[in-house]
Structure formats: structure tokens, C-alpha cells
């Protein structure tokens, strides 16, 4: 079959790009030809649907203008020459095709499940943003209703499709692996880092909540901790670590607004240098070999993100036989975690995370038992299963 994969081109190669490369590879191995249809998200029309948007609106509601421009660009792509269309991130579902499979990673979340926290953090004016959200949902509904079959990236994403779009009958789920987690499961990872530490692997962006990890570790200043990942909020998080470990700081008095529910603007406008030593170390981005070493040396892995679609980091941690600590409002990161069995599901606060981490640090037997359970859970997340789910979807559409 000739298969087109439509995808927004953000110029980055993140977790989802790895997943889609793997899907492409697996489809090619099965004898299909795959063509990518992209829209360059850096070169969108400034005049979506022929409406000249005033520059000031571009600044006040830039996300809305860009989304509409992207929607128009995808709507213009012609996939008729292909036997099957696979769409990915929003709004690639605007491409039309009679056999349309959407590997639905998530909605444009600012206008759906993150709408309220986006406003609460001060990223957008409430009235404009809520109005934009209502319009985006109305426009999306029209395109989503034309998709033949959805395979949501997790049960959480499937639930969002039901909740926001009333879509249920033609929605399945596929659960991707990471590639690295298979290496970890196979036990091929390099040896552990010399010191046992608490690990957090996350992009430093809004709602990833690395700040909660930093807050938790401030309660345990002597426990070695490693924070892997970079992003726009890294300077803010580094500065936060400095502020929270300043003697005399009342950690219980620090609330979400001071931690993560904000725009990540440095209080004094100057970034602190990342401390090279100390209990909490910021490692930035690391390669897979180094990451595997860090997993192997971890007492546990904290995944503090808010309302995620899926939890690749948690799957990786569990594959390495490490219990995960997640927050109860974490969405997809919570799905593989059974509280008290292969990790802990705690309330979203630094103190609660610190409590769970303390238990694992103080009871190595418990950590080991939970790690073994975690490894068993992770073994279910295989690429073979993911591809079976995807190929079942293809079969269902194409007969």
C-alpha cells in the first residue's frame, strides 16, 4: 500500500518523532511505501483563511492565529494519490481522505485540557483564550468527525476524545514503546552510575513540573538527586532550587503559583548558574547510554508532570526495574503505576513526593520489590504490541 503520514514539522526530534520513525520503519518492513506530508510550522501564513489578522492580535492570541493557519495548510494537502492516510499531531487531522487513520497523540491542549492552567499561570488573557478555545473546539469537531479511525496514544487521550468531542465508537488505543525501554528490558544497558540517586527525566517546560521535583528534593537536601532534561524553564528551575535551599526558607509555605503555575520568569531577571556539585544536580540533555546508566543507578524515578498524554519516562524507569513516583493528577504517567505495587501515586506536592521517595530510600527491600514489579509491568509495553494495534487499525480501515 502507498501510505501518507501527515505531520506538523516543528523542527525538533522529540519522543513523538521517535515513535513515528519507528512506525514508518515497521510499515516499510511490512512492504508498504511511506511518504511524509509535512507542514512547516515556522512558515505558516500570516493571513489564515484570507483574514488579515492585526499584528496586535497576533501577539495577544498568537497561538490561535498559528493554529488556524496550520489547519488551513493541512486542509490544502492532497492525499488522494495514497491508499491510506495516517495523521498525527493536531491539526494534521484536517487532511481529508476516505481511509483516514489518526494516530491521535493529543488535542491542541491549550484549548482543551490545559485551557484553565494556561490562563491561571498568566500565559493568556482569560476572555480571549476561552473564546479561542471554544472556536478551536468547534472547528476541530468538523474535521475530527471525518476521521475514519482514531488510535489514541493512551487511555487518557481516548477519554479526552470522548469528553471533548463525543467520539467513542471509532476510537482505539495504541501504546508505543520508546526503543530505549526495550534495551533496558533486555538488560543490555551499561552499568550503573556509581552513586545511588533519585532521578527525574523531563523537558523543562510548563506543566512538566520539574519544579515539584526540585521542591521535593529541597525537603531532603542530603539525598543525591539528578534532574535530566533541558528547556525554556531550566534557568527558572535552577534559580528555584537555589531559593528553596536558602536557609530559613519555609518549604511548606511555597505554593503552586510560586513553583510551577507561572510563566517561569526569573524573579530578579538573572539566571543562576546551574550548580555543578551538591545533592541536586542539573544534567541537561544526555544521550541514551548515559540515560540508561542513570536509570540503572536510580533508587526511584519521579515523574511529576501534570495531566500528561502518556508516560514514556515512566515506562523507561520501570523497564530498568525502578519504581516510579507520580502525581495523582498526572494523567497518562499514572496509567502503568499501581500505587504501592510498582511505584507510588501521590498528591501533587513537593512534600508528598518527598514522603514517597523517603520511604524508598529508607527501605531498599521495598524499592527492590517494587522495582521487580515495575519491570514486569513495563514488559507489556512492547513495539510488537503497538504495531499489532496499529496494523489492526489499518486492517479495519482498508479491509
Amino acid at each position: 500500500m502507498r501510505i501518507a503520514i501527515a505531520k506538523p514539522d516543528f523542527g525538533v526530534a522529540g519522543g513523538f518523532e521517535k515513535v513515528m520513525s519507528r512506525v514508518e520503519h515497521e510499515l516499510c518492513v511490512r512492504g508498504h511505501s511511506v511518504t511524509w506530508m509535512g507542514v512547516d510550522m515556522e512558515a505558516l501564513s500570516p493571513v489564515p483563511f484570507g483574514v488579515a489578522v492585526p499584528p496586535q492580535l497576533g501577539m495577544r492570541a498568537g497561538g490561535f492565529v498559528r493554529y488556524m493557519a496550520a489547519l488551513e495548510s493541512f486542509g490544502r494537502l492532497d492525499a488522494r494519490a495514497y491508499d491510506l492516510l495516517i495523521t498525527t499531531q493536531p491539526p494534521s487531522f484536517a487532511v481529508e481522505h476516505p481511509r483516514h487513520l489518526s494516530l491521535f497523540s493529543h488535542h491542541q491542549r491549550l484549548y482543551y485540557d490545559l485551557c484553565d492552567v494556561w490562563v491561571a499561570a498568566g500565559w493568556a488573557d482569560a476572555e480571549r483564550h476561552r473564546h479561542a478555545a471554544a472556536l478551536v473546539r468547534r472547528v476541530d469537531r468538523r474535521h475530527l468527525s471525518r476521521v475514519g479511525l482514531f488510535l489514541a496514544a493512551s487511555e487518557v487521550v481516548r477519554e479526552r476524545l470522548r469528553h471533548y468531542n463525543g467520539l467513542e465508537d471509532n476510537v482505539g488505543v495504541y501504546l508505543a514503546g520508546t526503543g530505549l525501554h526495550e534495551t533496558l528490558l533486555a538488560g543490555d544497558a551499561p552499568g550503573a552510575d556509581s552513586s545511588a540517586h533519585v532521578l527525574c527525566v523531563t523537558r523543562q517546560e510548563f506543566t512538566k513540573r520539574a519544579e515539584l521535583f526540585v521542591h521535593a528534593m529541597a525537603y531532603m537536601p542530603d539525598v543525591p538527586a539528578r534532574l535530566v532534561g533541558s528547556g525554556g524553564r531550566l534557568p527558572y528551575t535552577v534559580d528555584l532550587a537555589r531559593r528553596l535551599t536558602t536557609p530559613g526558607t519555609d518549604l511548606d509555605a511555597v505554593d503552586d503559583t510560586e513553583l510551577w503555575l507561572n510563566r517561569g520568569v526569573l524573579p530578579n531577571g538573572v539566571a543562576a548558574a546551574a550548580p555543578a556539585t551538591g545533592a541536586l544536580r542539573f544534567l541537561g540533555q544526555v544521550d541514551d547510554a548515559e540515560l540508561a546508566r542513570l536509570y540503572a543507578g536510580a533508587i526511584c524515578v519521579v515523574a511529576p508532570a501534570y495531566n500528561e498524554d502518556y508516560g514514556l519516562t515512566v515506562i523507561e524507569a520501570m523497564s530498568a526495574g525502578r519504581p516510579a513516583v507520580v502525581c495523582s493528577d498526572g494523567g497518562g504517567v499514572c496509567l502503568p503505576v499501581v500505587d504501592g505495587v510498582n511505584g507510588f501515586v501521590v498528591e501533587p506536592s513537593g512534600r508528598a513526593i518527598a514522603g514517597a521517595v523517603s520511604r524508598l530510600c529508607e527501605d531498599p527491600a521495598l524499592a527492590s520489590r517494587m522495582g521487580a514489579n515495575a519491570r514486569e509491568t513495563a514488559a507489556e509495553y512492547t513495539w510488537a504490541r503497538a504495531m499489532r494495534q496499529i496494523m489492526d487499525g489499518v486492517e479495519r480501515l482498508c479491509g
Binding site: 483574514v51 489578522v53 492585526p54 492580535l57 476572555e127 472547528v139
Partner: protein, 166 residues
Amino acid sequence: MPQPAATDVTVQADLDYMDEVASRALGNPPTPGAPAPPPEPPPGAAAGFIGRAAAHAHMGTELSDDERMLLVKRGVLRIAHLFSKEQVVYNDNVLKALRALDRRLAAVPGLLATAEADLGGLADAVDRLTREVADLRRVVDEGARRQQALAEEIAALRAGVDPPRP
């Protein structure tokens, strides 16, 4: 009746724009009376903006003799000059670049008019050529008809001179 605040008007204008974009995204035609984008600055406005910027390009580097506390201000300016001298060079060069761009832009309407006139002349030439080609075609067709008639005439004459053999 209380008048809406200026900010309310801005918000409503933004919402109207969003509504129009979304409406068209849903396949609807442009709404009659839909808010138009704000007007572009009139031609020549750039010169005014540049002129206003030029008036401040050396701001703070010169003092008139009428200034109060002239000596103190001169002292402060000498110190500030250590930092501002590069800024003045930058401002001057930005102004030069803007003026050069403005001159080029000012020439654009003339170039367009010339191109338009050239295109008009070209269209006339194409019309003329089309007519000439049509005339030529008629002449060629007429020649072909006459050639055919002559060939038939010659064949008839031959038939009279050389009767067919048994």
C-alpha cells in the same frame, strides 16, 4: 448610559476577528461587514516616522546653552558619552539604512507604472502580430487554393495532349 472602556473595545475587536477566522475555517463565506484589518500607514508615512526618530538619534549628547545647571549636566554627559557614543553610531546607521530603504520604496510605484506601461505596449505588439499572422495565413491559404486549381488545370491539359493508351 456608561460607555465601554477602551480595553473592552479592544477585546471585542479581537473576538470579532477570531470569530471571522473560525467562521471561514468552517467553510462559511466572508461575513458581510466583517471587521476590516486596521488601515496601512499612508504612503510617505515612513518619512515622517524616520524624521521623528532622527530628531532623537543624538538624544542626550548635546546641550543647549539655555539649559539649567549646564555645568553639572555637561559633566554627566561626558561620563555618559563613554557608553552612549556607540549608540549614536548605531542610531545614525539605522537611520541611514531606513532612509535608503525608504528611497527604494518610494521608487517602487514609478517602477510599477513603467512595468505596467511596458506590459501595455507588449500587449499592443502581441495584438499586432496576431493580426499579421492571420493575414499571412489567409495569403497562404489562398496560394494553396490557387496551386490546387493550377494542378487540376495542368492535369486536364495533359489528358488532352496524351490520350490514354489501350
